[in-house]
Symmetry: C2
Subunit: 217 residues, 2 copies
């Protein structure tokens, strides 16, 4: 346990990333994977995979590999995704709707327990069975009553900070932010920004190099 306090953030990010290919492997009936193969699937170095997993004890067999099922279970245990997390989402525009309808959340241990919007025309509408849009003014109240763990922000940038503050004030300590602004976060809290423009910029970089390369040949 003392060892876990020293786990670098980058390691936590990577082990979350290892989950998807591992789950795909299991679906394909593959039970054992080498660090080299897992590294290839996740586009990291195999030494990195071994180092990341070594933080959590020894659960690979040298020359054989990792048991896929054990690895998935262990990663879920480490991340805490073996328990249920209650989500509250704010902003039921296109992005918000795409999120609440995304099966991926429910296949994992995430459950939308509340949805909020400031548009009076949306309030009262049922977005998915069991989830009705509430007024954004009720974020604090609902967060406390329902025990929301994670607030999800799919609001315009101009509203993001005030919505985040309402969550923080109600004791919600984690925010997943889809708004393209940098949020001020209290010491006690954790904000993750989802920014696909970073991925797009990476594509531009690699494409530019490929275009240049093919022009040169």
């Amino acid at each position: 346990m003392a060892k876990e306090t020293k786990i670098p953030n980058a390691t936590i990010e990577r082990i979350a990333l290892y989950l998807r290919p591992l789950e795909n492997l299991l679906q394909q009936g593959i039970d054992v994977i080498s660090s080299r193969k897992l590294a290839l699937l996740c586009r990291v170095r195999s030494a990195q995979v071994r180092k990341d997993l070594s933080y959590f004890g020894e659960f690979g067999v040298r020359g054989v590999g990792y048991d896929v099922r054990d690895l998935i279970r262990e990663i879920h245990r480490i991340l805490g995704t073996d328990r249920q997390w209650k989500l509250g989402i704010v902003g039921l525009g296109n992005m918000g709707m795409a999120l609440v309808q995304d099966e991926y959340f429910t296949r994992r241990s995430y459950r939308f327990v509340a949805a909020f919007d400031s548009d009076p025309e949306k309030i009262g509408k049922i977005v998915i069975p069991g989830l009705t849009i509430e007024s954004a003014s009720k974020i604090g109240q609902f967060s406390q009553v329902l025990g929301i763990h994670i607030g999800i922000l799919a609001v315009p940038p101009s509203q993001a900070q005030s919505v985040a503050d309402r969550f923080f004030e109600a004791g919600v300590k984690a925010i997943l932010n889809f708004s393209p602004i940098q949020l001020r976060e209290p010491e006690c809290c954790h904000v993750e920004n989802v920014d696909f423009t970073v991925s797009l910029d990476n594509l531009a970089y690699y494409s530019g190099r490929k275009i240049n390369k093919s022009n040169a040949s």
Copy 2:
């Protein structure tokens, strides 16, 4: 130029990440930033910032910092985001609609030049001014005629691979994939996956630790 071939992927990802806080700083009228401050904003070590930027030549002044405007321009030049990139999107459900309406794309150098869907009821609809939904069967034809650089996939997982293949066959070398599946990609091409569940898993991890910590105190 020879030096640039050795730039690690992780560095490219990070410099794309540096852009947003830098652009925010400029909006706030801040012209100079230290590597320490930039590192704080981006949640990386300041030695890392200095190392990443050193790959691209010396453009910081020791003890003073970086000129924000220069840094932004230089990062755009390195990434290739100082030129225009043409996007073709497939799947105009909630996620696809959220993307085409996202101002962030146009504020950068990305422009949607084509939109495709396989739903006959959607074909012919105008999603934003100048962008009409075409049949997904025309992906190859449009990609070649319009010179699409990057294909964006916002389709169900079951359709993602066949759509990606149509782009690849038409010479599109870059894919931004919002579908939660691992795509097979040809040697010549580059796929970036947008997976916010990884961010969510990170939040679960940090929240769990905070919950445990406050329980213990």
